[in-house]
């Protein structure tokens, strides 16, 4: 044909990656990049991970770098921290964060506080990771959310990814960080796929710890959330949009340090705030956000009190009907938004 200029086609290549695989790939890449990185925890090696997050890693890296531990959390968390003292970069998996309570002294007193107590002589480059919060039918002892407990402590960074991009970028950042990072995953999100761009798939893609992301722009009300509840907020926002209410959805990504600036900027725009979390209400993440908004410049922009949507203040029951009513549902978010907007 004739001399017509070639049309430039810009194709954004997207890959569907679920959260589990995003975490797996992040660990694989960081293990390859730095030989001081290693993974230890129960069933992480030969079983491929209790939730298959570490699938294939033992086969690739072997016994030295992927270590199966006995069921002794206090002991192996302490060993992980000691290894970090001596210059290695451990990833310590708790099969679920509920089991971290057995080891919490090592996370707080040995890991979080040491850099400070030593006046900077002893950094602790460790990542503690595992699934956090409620699952499905696992009952009271296996369903607690630890964002507020760990988020309370100076010296720790606490991260709570929602989607695959969060999981990948934040885990890589956490592993590269020279400080103790508590990495709170969510079991029910592991199997959920998300589109990831080439940029996100790059081996040096990291997300900044301590920076929230506005997932959906809106003008009428700000919804702030973390982890799985971000998805519920987006679902609620879609329903509310049909009634003309435009919600701005903020994905915290990090619990500590809290990106209060992003929340404030949003509240100063919308004048209304609802926080949404899976954890218990008392002394929780939402409570902290509301207190900070009260104390800061955004207060003067509020047209209604800031309100929290949370898990119900009970140990998690087993029966499905009870469990469903123990966690925030989309209808609870919609109901709350309408209350706050006086609709």
């Amino acid at each position: 044909s004739s001399a017509r200029p070639l049309q430039r086609l810009s194709i954004v290549l997207l890959r569907k990656v679920n959260v589990r695989d995003a975490l797996n790939q992040a660990m694989d890449e960081e293990l390859e990049r730095d030989e001081k990185v290693f993974l230890l925890g129960e069933e992480v090696a030969q079983y491929d991970g209790a939730y298959k997050v570490s699938r294939g890693l033992w086969k690739k890296y072997g016994d030295k770098r992927i270590i199966d531990t006995p069921i002794t959390e206090m002991g192996f968390a302490g060993i992980a921290v000691g290894a970090a003292f001596a210059g290695l970069r451990p990833i310590c998996e708790f099969m679920t964060w509920n089991f971290s309570m057995q080891a919490i002294d090592q996370v707080i007193n040995s890991a979080a506080k040491t850099y400070y107590m030593s006046a900077g002589a002893q950094p602790v480059p460790i990542v503690f990771r595992g699934p956090n919060g409620s699952s499905a039918g696992v009952a009271a002892q296996h369903s607690q959310c630890f964002a507020a407990w760990y988020g309370h402590c100076p010296g720790l960074k606490v991260v709570s990814p929602w989607n695959s991009e969060d999981a990948r970028g934040l885990l890589k950042a956490a592993i590269r960080d020279n400080n103790p990072v508590v990495f709170l995953e969510n079991e029910l999100m592991y199997g959920v796929p998300f589109d990831l761009s080439e940029e996100v798939m790059h081996k040096d893609f990291v997300l900044p710890i301590g920076k929230a992301k506005v997932e959906r722009q809106g003008t009428h009300i700000t919804l702030v959330s973390h982890s799985r509840c971000v998805g519920f907020c987006l679902d609620a926002a879609a329903v509310l949009a049909k009634e003309g209410v435009e919600c701005e959805v903020v994905n915290l990504r990090t619990i500590r340090p809290l990106d209060v600036e992003t929340i404030e900027a949003s509240v100063m725009k919308t004048g209304h705030l609802v926080t949404v979390e899976g954890g218990w209400p008392q002394y929780g993440v939402g409570a902290e956000i509301c207190a900070r908004i009260m104390e800061g410049p955004a207060f003067n922009y509020l047209d209604a009190p800031a309100v929290r949507v949370t898990g119900v203040d009970i140990p998690m029951p087993y029966a499905k009907i009870l469990e469903d009513h123990s966690v925030p549902q989309i209808k609870d978010i919609i109901f709350t938004v309408k209350k706050v907007l006086n609709m």
Binding site: P70, M74, A119, G120, K157, E295
Partner: protein
Amino acid sequence: RVLELTGCAASMVASSRSYADFTPEATFDIKKVDLHRLEEGPPLTATLTREEGLKYYRTMQTIRRMELKADQLYKQKIIRGFCHLYDGQEACAVGIEGGITLSDHLITAYRAHGYTLTRGGTVREIMAELTGRRGGIAKGKGGSMHMYTKNFYGGNGIVGAQVPLGAGVALACKYLGNDQLCVSLYGDGAANQGQIFETYNMSSLWKLPIIFICENNQYGMGTSVERSSASTEYYKRGDYIPGLRVDGMDVLCVREATKFAADHCRSGKGPILMELQTYRYHGHSMSDPGVSYRTREEIQEVRSKSDPISMLKDRMLSNNMASIEELKEIDIAVRKEIEDAAQFATTDPEPPLDDLCSHIFANDQPFEVRAATPWTKLTSTS
């Protein structure tokens, strides 16, 4: 006798005696070590050179005097909070260091001033840490229980937590293939902690180069070993881990046992456990007079019959390895070092308020730290 009393004349006498008069080295019988799951133990004799002897004497005396000075300063309320003194146990810290090198690693609990010294800290920076000054080894941020040096990981306040930490350091040694080992210390009180048994298990499974050392000073705070432990044979508590029970008041016993244990570790055999039988003259801490759960007679008996510094001194004098004057000179020099350090520790300024929020995170950009009220702006620095 008169010459002894007048230091000046004494030093004249000492300098008129040439060092060729002294025995350069002697071999001593040392107490047999009780063994657990070991066919052979450390040797029954130890060779001490004059140089080593003087070095051990000086270091033990320095620890002794430093701890006694800390006692004084605490009573004057210049040192605050917790202060757990090590006097009586000097042979442990000094003997252990004699069996390893500074490229090996060590971690202990809160009775840590002696180890901070043997691991390379100076009296000056230790005392200034106790008084909470900016010249302290942790810049005043840590205090008595949180002092660190190269390859020394404190100073740990939570009973037993340091033991798995030490195994983690040992894991790093094995991982990096550097032929180093980690000594992980705990007391008779900590010996019943579950996490220690968890650590025994993993260290043995993975053959970590770790020497577990139980400093058994007979009392966990106010509770005697008989009242806390169903089994007081702490050297056997590692079960499948070979163990040694050692006289912790004899620096040579401790040194030989440590050398033996270090060889065991470095040969790839995995962990080994040493129980050092020792004694603390002070109570558990400065808030414990230490006489409600033990008698003054008991303390006095240990002092007169088993004091580690006296034991070494007697050995050296009776074998003509040093003179009384020479040791006295060391005492005087030590006393001066402690006085100078105390002077520094009481006059150095406290840390600047800017340090309040420093060292929260490593390698980070400065960030805002919440103060006591919302209006005060504090910034952290790495």
